[in-house]
């Protein structure tokens, strides 16, 4: 009986310890809150490719770098609104999506012009073709495909950075890849 009690206590203790698990990203956030600018640089290095991928999936390439910087500055300014430090990746992804939507609303007419004027080389045109095919996919597939094919992240890395579950990332990758192949006329 007593052994059972200890067993339950042990389980409860493990569970509470798991709920209090702090990710390295959360530690970075804590350090930023404490005023360490170096921690902000580290956070940028970890999450900048993810933010870049999300923005690239939506906006013209020339604008992407500026928007990425804007996203991080906005994140720094609004760090107090982040409730769960462990969810900093998903939070950054959300800011990136919002900024991209905002930009697209303001400069809708110039987007196509930038894309249309850049016609140099076959490899570039092929790359643009693939990118535009990815951009035409649904949002869930678009982000995952860009992070996998452009930024070179693995599935688990995508899940870790974006805050999505590995299962949903796997599903998005497979379905998105199938759709992309159809769009590009590549036979599996």
């Amino acid at each position: 009986m007593t052994s059972d009690l200890f067993l339950f206590a042990g389980r409860g203790g493990e569970k509470s310890a798991a709920s209090r698990l702090v990710t390295p990203a959360a530690r970075l956030v804590e350090r930023i809150r404490a005023g360490e600018e170096e921690a902000f640089g580290e956070l940028y290095k970890v999450f900048a490719p993810m933010v870049h991928g999300i923005v690239l999936a939506r906006l013209p390439r020339d604008e992407v770098d500026d928007i990425v910087q804007d996203v991080f500055i906005a994140a720094y300014k609004n760090l107090s609104s982040l409730r769960d430090d462990n969810a900093v990746g998903g939070w950054l992804a959300m800011i990136a999506r919002n900024r991209a939507t905002e930009f697209f609303r303001q400069a809708r007419q110039t987007e196509e012009l930038i894309e249309a004027t850049d016609t140099r080389g076959d490899s570039r045109s092929r790359a643009r073709e693939i990118l535009s095919a990815i951009r035409s996919c649904p949002e869930a597939y678009r982000d995952t495909l860009v992070l996998r094919l452009v930024e070179g992240m693995t599935g688990p890395e995508i899940a870790e950075r974006t805050g999505l579950t590995p299962e949903s990332v796997r599903v998005n990758l497979h379905r998105g890849m199938r759709l992309l192949r159809q769009k590009l006329g590549i036979e599996v």
Binding site: F40, K45, A48, F72, Y76, R124, L131, L149, G152, G155
Partner: protein, 189 residues
């Protein structure tokens, strides 16, 4: 195995590798993190003048009400002192001698006791100088009695008041947005 390459890059998939190579040019180039904005200093809160305004309004209204009450009070007093002197009275005790009631002949029994009867007698109150509040008709006729300099000053004052009221009207119209409407109407015309 192909799916493993898509998931965690184990094994190989030529098709995906080709896509990766083609898209590698769009990959994020590690750059320096953005320069952080300067820390925003907490500005002192703007002073609220609400209480001051409220106090000012209260003081002005108090002055206005007080002056109205004072004016009314002085008017009533002056009118009371005008013709009511006859109505004012004073209670005095007047000595009277009462004849004896019994029919017996009066026997001198020394000095009689004096009886007093309370009577009411009118008292004349000295009339206070009457303050007549000038009516509108009197105000209109007032400038005729003014000297030349006073007339000039009066004219200047009226002019200043007219200018001030015009300015106030413009301000009020601006606040209400009438000026814009009028300008728009003029443009339409």
């Amino acid at each position: 195995m192909k799916e493993d390459y898509l998931w965690n890059k184990t094994g190989s998939d030529t098709g995906i590798e080709q896509l990766e190579n083609a898209l590698a040019q769009f990959r994020f180039n590690a750059t320096e993190p953005p320069t952080l904005p300067a820390k925003i200093l907490a500005l002192p809160e703007k002073r609220s003048y609400g209480f001051f305004k409220l106090g000012l309004v209260f003081a002005v209204s108090l002055v206005v009400v007080g002056s109205i009450v004072w004016m009314r009070f002085t008017t009533i007093n002056s009118s009371a002192g005008f013709g009511d002197s006859a109505k004012q009275s004073e209670v005095r005790d007047v000595p009277v001698s009462i004849p004896a009631v019994d029919s017996k002949p009066a026997i001198d029994s020394g000095p009689r006791e004096k009886h007093f009867v309370r009577t009411v007698q009118p008292v004349r109150i000295a009339a206070r100088p009457i303050r007549i509040v000038a009516g509108r008709s009197q105000i209109k006729t007032q400038p005729e009695k003014l000297t030349r300099e006073e007339k000039y000053a009066y004219g200047q004052l009226m002019l200043a008041l007219a200018i001030t009221s015009n300015e106030l009207k413009i301000v009020r119209d601006k606040i209400n947005g009438r000026e814009e409407r009028n300008a728009a109407d003029d443009r339409q015309k």
